[in-house]
């Protein structure tokens, strides 16, 4: 790990050079970049594995998510993140619904009027099955902003994200807007109630999907147990409803399951 940190320092220093070029004397020394690894795992039950309007099939799937990232600062108020991430859904019976992504990304963050605002770029590989067939390769360009409001035991973190996907398959190209309102209510020292109302809007721009507009409404409600500061277990239920101007794309899905999150 020490070797990784030394490498991170070298990479970070290379990245910092442009920021220092202006005025070295007045710039505070940036913090050392730090590596982080995040692992999540969740067995989940879905009552609509295929996300189909009419062909509803119940199934259970495993959903691991691994991320390795490097966080550092370019200047006193601009931070960067370089990361690699991969995740898949592996269904027990409905294997057609299994899918995978693997990506590398970069993000710059600056706080504007108390809102943490980021621009990010992700190069993504999308597979059907568990790393089986490559479906498309996409480049996502996104801007997002978030902040926390706290009142007593409650923390609310309104978040907005907007982006465009460029892809080698025209049908995957689209604009996307996400509006989230994560809410946490602390019950006791380790227990919290968590809820996340979420709206996702998609405007497709290419190929057979040109002109298609989807809106996904969802809400999750769960109970979170903080095992340690870097480990938590959240059991939640999530209801999702998609509408589209292509009626075939409507669906409703209910999912429930525990999720374990770890940070190293």
């Amino acid at each position: 790990m020490r070797k990784l940190n030394a490498l991170a320092g070298a990479v970070g220093l290379l990245g910092m050079q442009p920021a220092w070029a202006g005025d070295e004397a007045t710039q505070p020394l940036p913090q050392r970049p730090a590596w982080g690894a995040f692992v999540s795992f969740s067995p989940t039950y879905s009552n609509n594995a295929l996300l189909s309007r009419s062909d509803r099939r119940r199934d259970i799937y495993a959903n691991p998510d691994v991320m390795l990232r490097l966080d550092g600062k370019l200047s006193s108020d601009i931070s960067y993140r370089l990361y690699g991430r991969s995740s898949f859904n592996a269904f027990a019976e409905e294997t057609f619904a299994s899918e995978t992504f693997a990506l590398v990304g970069a993000r710059l963050t600056k706080t504007l009027w108390d809102w943490r605002t980021s621009v990010s770029f992700e190069h993504r590989f999308e597979y059907s099955g568990v790393y089986r067939d490559l479906l498309f390769i996409a480049d996502d360009l996104m801007i997002s902003t978030t902040r926390d409001y706290s009142w007593g035991p409650f923390t609310v973190s309104p978040t907005a994200q907007f982006g465009y996907r460029f892809a080698d398959v025209a049908e995957a190209e689209r604009y996307r807007l996400d509006l989230l309102l994560p809410i946490e209510a602390k019950l006791m020292s380790r227990w919290s109630i968590v809820a996340t109302p979420l709206l996702e809007a998609y405007w497709f721009t290419g190929g057979l999907n040109d002109g298609r507009q989807d809106i996904v409404y969802s809400a999750s409600l769960g109970l979170r147990y903080s095992i340690a500061s870097n480990m938590s277990l959240t059991t939640s239920a999530n209801y999702e409803w998609r509408t589209s101007n292509v009626p075939l794309r409507h669906y409703r899905d209910f999912e429930i399951g525990p999720r374990l999150d770890l940070a190293f």
């Binding site: 940190n5 730090a34 982080g36 995040f38 999540s40 969740s42 996300l51 998510d65 991320m67 991430r85 995740s87 898949f88 859904n89 619904a97 899918e99 995978t100 992504f101 999308e126 059907s128 479906l135 498309f136 973190s157 978040t159 892809a167 398959v169 025209a170 049908e171 995957a172 689209r174 996400d178 989230l180 994560p182 946490e184 968590v194 996340t196 979420l198 996702e200 998609y202 497709f204 190929g207 057979l208 999907n209 298609r212 989807d214 996904v216 969802s218 979170r224 500061s229 870097n230 480990m231 938590s232 959240t234 999530n238 999702e240 794309r249 999720r259 999150d261 770890l262 940070a263 190293f264």
Partner: protein, 69 residues
């Protein structure tokens, strides 16, 4: 002859429309939707996690010194 040609053309169009390549292409917009939503919600949960603080060499030495004292 004409009805046969029309029938053949219609069959051809239906076959093309039903072919897996077309279906797969239009579904490219759907693939990954569940994963991406899950990833977004995972990001929210991860925001609340704190990595174990990395202790510097000086901090470890200081702690050892306190124990010895």
């Amino acid at each position: 002859m004409k009805p046969m040609l029309i029938l053949a053309a219609m069959t051809g169009i239906l076959l093309v429309m039903a072919s897996p390549s077309v279906a797969q292409r239009s579904e490219a917009g759907d693939r990954g939707v569940r994963l991406e939503t899950n990833a977004l919600l995972t990001d929210v949960r991860r925001e609340r996690l704190k990595k174990p603080a990395a202790r510097s060499g000086a901090a470890v030495k200081a702690k050892r010194r306190i124990k010895v004292d």
